[in-house]
């Protein structure tokens, strides 16, 4: 798993139940736009993050297109922890603290 993908996962796991727009992922990871979207597309395809469109009522009221939020799923939280722990252990480094923060990820819908 690339460091870039790890950084994206960190952005989701840093706060429990956090939902992020693409722009927020870019701000949190300081990666380029063209870098994070393929990562988001892949993570979504694997079911590690789930996306939803903003309520059309809100965006309509404000006359703008709806934005898309993403958040980590239970599978994603577990998968990230396993994969990233493995990566850090392989390099004989201590596992970072953010990895084991609890996420409000039960009952993914």
């Amino acid at each position: 798993m690339t460091l870039q993908t790890q950084n994206v996962l960190k952005a989701f796991m840093d706060e429990p139940g956090r939902e992020l727009y693409g722009l927020e992922v870019i701000a949190a990871t300081r990666l380029a736009t063209g870098t994070i979207y393929p990562i988001l597309a892949r993570l979504e395809r694997y079911g590690w993050i789930e996306g939803r469109w903003e309520d059309p009522g809100i965006s309509q009221q404000e006359s703008r297109p709806p934005r898309r939020y993403y958040k980590i799923t239970a599978a994603g939280a577990e998968g990230s922890r396993t994969a990233i722990t493995k990566a850090y252990r392989a390099r004989r480094q201590p596992v970072p603290g953010w990895l084991n923060r609890p996420t409000a990820s039960g009952g993914a819908r």
Binding site: T5, G22, T33, A41, P56, G57, Q60
Partner: protein, 263 residues
């Protein structure tokens, strides 16, 4: 909703022999739709399952659920009506035929079978949830029909949540079009997106327009667009799912050692 979660939902309330009939309906539908795909690229069977899921959540009976799973087999495949009658009986087959033929506003208005109307509402609801894969003119036509006919009908039938969601989704499509015209960032992006596989273009364009609108400064919008364009070939490869870079795969997808017990 997947077929598994549908059966999970029904397991507590549906008697075993009715569940078996619904399973049979799924098997028959999956067989006849096996070569077909939705515009989104998903296997076609995803749609009848989703429609059945919507109706199961609304508490519809097993005949409606069977008809939901089978609702496109007569119209879109070579499945003969005689086969449906033989396996599922007249009542379910009639529901399937009715949901295919009751289409125009006049027929809908004069249709008194609430179960047919529920079927059509659920069908339209799933189609609206996935409407972004259709060309804009068809999206608008379906949305107008939904607002004028189907949404009020669903509400009158007592399917309030379905009716409300139908109306919201239809309005979202018909609301003032995204200002794709006057901002050059939007125009450039609309061109760049042509590199992506067709089925994915509209969905990602929508998301990127949404993000662009949220960027106040022009210089930042330009950077967003330029970076996106530079990453577009990579995005195209990712979406095609081909030539995946193994370093980027989560370990769960790689050939694993026998000690690894996960999955």
């Amino acid at each position: 909703m997947t077929i598994e979660s549908l059966f999970e939902t029904l397991a507590d309330t549906m008697p075993a022999e009715r569940l078996r009939l619904i399973e049979r309906a799924y098997t028959v539908a999956a067989y006849w739709h096996r070569a077909q795909k939705r515009k989104s690229g998903d296997p076609y069977i995803v749609h009848p399952v989703a429609v059945a899921g919507i109706l199961a959540e609304a508490g519809m009976d097993h005949e409606v659920l069977c008809a939901a799973l089978l609702h496109d087999v007569l119209e879109d495949t070579d499945c003969p009506a005689a086969l449906l009658i033989h396996e599922f009986g007249d009542r379910i087959t009639d529901l399937v035929i009715a949901s295919a033929t009751v289409d125009d506003p006049v027929a809908l208005a004069s249709c008194t079978d609430e179960r047919v109307l529920a079927l059509k509402s659920a069908d339209r609801l799933h189609n609206l949830r996935t409407i972004r894969f259709l060309p804009p003119s068809r999206q608008r036509r379906k949305s107008r029909h939904t607002l004028e006919v189907l949404a009020p009908l669903a509400v009158r039938l007592g399917l309030e949540e379905i009716g409300a969601e139908l109306a919201t989704l239809a309005r979202a499509v018909l609301s003032p079009p995204v200002e794709a015209g006057h901002r050059s960032s939007n125009r450039t992006l609309a061109l760049g997106v042509l590199l992506l596989p067709e089925a994915h273009r509209s969905r990602w364009l929508q998301e990127w327009f949404g993000e662009l609108q949220a960027i106040p400064r022009r210089s930042a919008r330009v950077r967003f667009t330029v970076e996106l364009l530079m990453g577009m070939p990579r995005m195209a490869v990712t979406l095609r799912g081909a030539a995946t870079d193994l370093r980027d795969l989560p370990p769960g997808r790689m050939p694993r050692d026998p000690q690894d017990h996960r999955d």
